[in-house]
Symmetry: T
Subunit: 68 residues, 12 copies
Amino acid sequence: MNEKVFKKIRVVGCSPESYQKAVESAVVKAGASVHGMAWFEVVELRGAIQDGKASEWQATVEIAFKVE
Amino acid sequence: MNEKVFKKIRVVGCSPESYQKAVESAVVKAGASVHGMAWFEVVELRGAIQDGKASEWQATVEIAFKVE
Amino acid sequence: MNEKVFKKIRVVGCSPESYQKAVESAVVKAGASVHGMAWFEVVELRGAIQDGKASEWQATVEIAFKVE
Amino acid sequence: MNEKVFKKIRVVGCSPESYQKAVESAVVKAGASVHGMAWFEVVELRGAIQDGKASEWQATVEIAFKVE
Amino acid sequence: MNEKVFKKIRVVGCSPESYQKAVESAVVKAGASVHGMAWFEVVELRGAIQDGKASEWQATVEIAFKVE
Amino acid sequence: MNEKVFKKIRVVGCSPESYQKAVESAVVKAGASVHGMAWFEVVELRGAIQDGKASEWQATVEIAFKVE
Amino acid sequence: MNEKVFKKIRVVGCSPESYQKAVESAVVKAGASVHGMAWFEVVELRGAIQDGKASEWQATVEIAFKVE
Amino acid sequence: MNEKVFKKIRVVGCSPESYQKAVESAVVKAGASVHGMAWFEVVELRGAIQDGKASEWQATVEIAFKVE
Amino acid sequence: MNEKVFKKIRVVGCSPESYQKAVESAVVKAGASVHGMAWFEVVELRGAIQDGKASEWQATVEIAFKVE
Amino acid sequence: MNEKVFKKIRVVGCSPESYQKAVESAVVKAGASVHGMAWFEVVELRGAIQDGKASEWQATVEIAFKVE
Amino acid sequence: MNEKVFKKIRVVGCSPESYQKAVESAVVKAGASVHGMAWFEVVELRGAIQDGKASEWQATVEIAFKVE
Amino acid sequence: MNEKVFKKIRVVGCSPESYQKAVESAVVKAGASVHGMAWFEVVELRGAIQDGKASEWQATVEIAFKVE
C-alpha cells in the first residue's frame, strides 16, 4: 500500500566549530534511537558567546524518519 | 486532581488519494505507539508531482495525546 | 462612490465528514446573521480524535462581507 | 555532478468543486510551461462566496521543478 | 568532545489555577519519562471557559533535554 | 446533526494587577454580550509603563463561543 | 475600577486613491456601528489591477474600541 | 469550464517619492512581460537612507495574473 | 508639533518566581538607562529547568520610550 | 578589509498626517544620535483614532546604520 | 528616472557538501536565464539523510534581479 | 538576588567569505561597545550578488548581553 507515514523529532545540535557540524551531530545522535531517517529541516540557528567571541554553534533541526 | 498533561508528536501522513486520507493515515499510525490521542492540528500541506500531475498528498499533523 | 468596506468575522466550522463540509457549514451558519458575504480565508485546520481515529474536522475561516 | 537546482513558481488554482481539484488544476496548468515538476507546497487556502454559499475553492501552491 | 545534543518534546500542561501551574505541571510530568531537562519555551497559551469564566489555563511548552 | 459552528471574537483585557486578571476580565466582559463561550487563545501580551514601572497588563484573547 | 476591556474587529477598506483613504474609510464605516474606537493596526495591504494599473488600494485593519 | 488558474510573481518597485509610486511602478513594469494582471499583495516595505533622510521607498509586491 | 518618536529596546528579564516578576524586573532595569518609557510588548517566554523543575522564568520584552 | 558591520535600532514614528511623514520623522530623529544610516524596514503600521477618525499614523521601522 | 524595478525568483540549490555550495549553485544556475542579479535572501534550509547521515544540503533562496 | 537582566541588540555582519565569518564579525564588532555578551540568535541570512556570483554573505544576529 502507498500510504507512507513519517514521524518528526526536534533535535538541537551544538558544535564548537560550525553549523554544519552541529547539524551533522544532531542527525547522527538522533540516528542512535530511530531508524529510517529521511530528511531534516533547520528550525533555528543560535549560538553561545564566550570572551567576546562566538564559541558554540547551535542548530535546531526537525528530523523526519519513516514509520514501518 | 485537575492538572491534565498532553504530549504532542509530529507525524507526516502521505496518501495517493487525498489530504483527508493522509491525515487519517497519520492518526491511525500514530495510534500504534501512543494511547489517549485527543486532537490534531494540521501544520503543513505538501505533495509530490509525477508525470506532470499531483501524485501524492502529504499532510504534517501535530497529534496530542493524554499522559496518564 | 468607490470606497467599498468589508467586515471580517472568524468562524470555526466542525464536521464529522470533511474539511470541505466544515467550511461550507461555517459559511452557511455565518450567513444567518450577516449579508453580502464575498470571500473567505482558511486560517486553521484542526480535528478531534476518538477511539484512535480522526472523528471531527474543524476549519477556522475568516469570512468577509460587504458593509452597506 | 550532484548539485541539483530547482526553481519554484507560485500558482493559484480555482475550482467550483474542491481544494483537491484546485491544486490538481494548478499543477496541470503549470506543467504547460515548465518541465520536471517535482513537488508542491500549499501556501494559502481561500474561497469565494455567492448567494451565501462557498462557491469557489482557491488554493495557492508553490511548485518546484528541476532546472536542467 | 564538545558536541552536545538536546532533544525537544512538546507538552501541554493544563491547570485550573494559572499558567504558571500549567507550565510547572508540564515540566514535572515530562520529567517522568525523560532525564536531563535543561530549558523550555512557551509555544502557545490557551484556556477553557465554563459558565462564562476562564476555568482552565493551558500552556504548550517545548522542553529540551540533553541526550547522553 | 453533528455540524457545530463557533464564532470567535478578539477582546483586549487590561488589568493593573496581572495577565491572569486581564484575561479573566476579557472573558467576563465578552460574556455580557455572547453566550456559549467555550475556549480562548492568547494572541498578544503587552503592557503600559508609568513612572518607570509596569503599570498595566494587557492581554489580547480570541474567544470562541458556540452558535446555536 | 481599572479593568478596561476593548473589542477588536477586522475591516477591509478599499479606495481608488490610496491606502490612507482606504484606512480612513474603514475607520469611518466601522464607526457607524461601534463607539469608543481607540486605535487600529494594519493587518494586510493588497490591491486590484485593471488595464495593467493598480486601480484599487485595499487595507485590512483591526480596529479596537472600548467596551463600556 | 470554471477552473481558472493564476500565476504570481514577486516584484520590487522603488521610488524616490512614495510607496504608492513604488507599487504603481512595480505593477506597470510587470505588465510589460505578463498579461491579465488581476491583483497584488504587499509583501514587504523597506527603504534607503541618504544624508540622514529616507531617500527611496521600496515595496515588494506579489502580482497575480491569469493564465489562459 | 505633533510628530512624536519612540525608540524600542529588547530586554530579557529573568526571575526565579514568575513571568510577572521577570517582566517587572526587565522594565525597572531598562529604566536605569532610558527615560520616558511608555509601553512594552512580550516577545518571548522561556525558562530554565533544574532538578526536573521550572527554576527560572525568562521574559523577553520590547520596551518603547519617548525620544525628546 | 571587507567585513562591514551594521547595527539596527527600532524606532516608532508618529504623524498626524501620513505614514510617509511618520517614517521620515523616525529616520530624522534616529539620525540625531547615530551616523551612517543606510536603510530601513517597516516592521509595523498602527494608528490612533479620535472622534471616530484616524488621527495619528504610527510606523515602526528598523533602521540600519554602519558601525565604523 | 529613478524608479528602478527588480523581479524575484525562488530557487532551491542542493549540494552534497555545504549550504554555502548550495546557495552558490542556486545563484549560478539562476544566472543562466536572468541578468542583473543583485541580491538574495535565504528562505529555507533543509537537507536529505542517507544511511543515518546528512547527505545533501538544500537551500531555498529568493534572488532579485534588475528589470531593464 | 537572582533577577538577571539581559539586553539584546541587532547587528548585521557581512563577509566576502561565509556566513560563519559574517556572524563572528558581527559578534566581535558588537563586543567593542557592550560587555557581558552571552548568546546570539540568527535572525536573517541574505547576500549580495556581483557578476552572477554570491559575493557577500550577510547575517543578521540578535546578540544578548548581561546588564550589571
